[in-house]
Amino acid sequence: MNQLRKEVVDSLRCKARSGISPSQLLRELISIAPESPDPLWMVQSFAEVFCFTEGQSYPIFGWLPDGTGRLKDSDLDYLLAKRIERNRINWDEFCPLASGTELCGQVVLPKSS
């Protein structure tokens, strides 16, 4: 199972709150992946960040960061943004700042060791 670092989870939640698109959030996740990330890692990481317990992140299986997947960025953003918003009550309460924007601007996602 994935175990993302807390600051990574917090940062991604805050960025989601500030309107960063799911595909962009995924690219940020990929940039900190310990090794070449596979779809499973992305699906599980996204589920962890947004507290998905019903497999809501499965559309990621159809997406690739280079745009060659069956779902394009715009498709994925449309599908996941709704799910993230629908599940907001479960992840947003853990966000450390009320507004989030200041923190989002400052945090640089660390490389995992």
Partner: protein
């Protein structure tokens, strides 16, 4: 976890278990990157899965077999499955739904019964169809969320 032996006459099917817990199961084919099953028992007790064998062809572990080993795994773990969830946002099941519902020639509930996923669910005794949610219009759905019940 020891993955069951693939059916005879399969080509390039070398499955390995990545996860095999009481609520999560992931088996991939070491010989074909686009060939895997990811399955889980959700918080509502639904069996939910995503299976792929891409690119399509005769190579790889058959999707039906992957479904069976995932199902058997959870049964052996003692899972009580209350429904089989299909949450389709791309792929063959959604393609079938869109093909059959174009021009409203078939209701989405009926079209669900023509999918590969329905055949799998029916094989386990889940023959009722409950459409939880759809996104889009007949023939052009972006997402179909369905639950197969006993």
């Amino acid at each position: 976890m020891q993955v069951p032996r693939p059916p005879t006459r399969t080509v390039d099917c070398e499955p390995e278990a990545v996860f095999a817990s009481t609520h999560l199961f992931h088996v991939r084919n070491k010989k074909k990157p686009g060939n895997f099953i990811h399955a889980e028992i959700t918080s509502h007790g639904f069996f939910k899965y995503h299976v792929e064998n891409m690119p399509k062809g005769k190579r790889g572990c058959p999707g039906k077999w992957l479904f069976e080993i995932a199902w058997d795994h959870f049964q052996q773990c003692g899972a009580i499955v209350t429904g089989i969830r299909g949450d389709w946002t791309f792929g063959d099941n959604l393609d079938v739904i869109n093909r059959l519902t174009v021009s409203k020639k078939m209701a989405v509930e009926v079209a669900c019964r023509h999918t590969w996923a329905y055949d799998r669910a029916r094989s386990k005794g889940f023959t009722s169809v409950m459409v939880i949610d759809v996104d889009g219009n007949p023939g052009n759905y972006n997402a179909v969320d369905v639950l197969f019940l006993p």
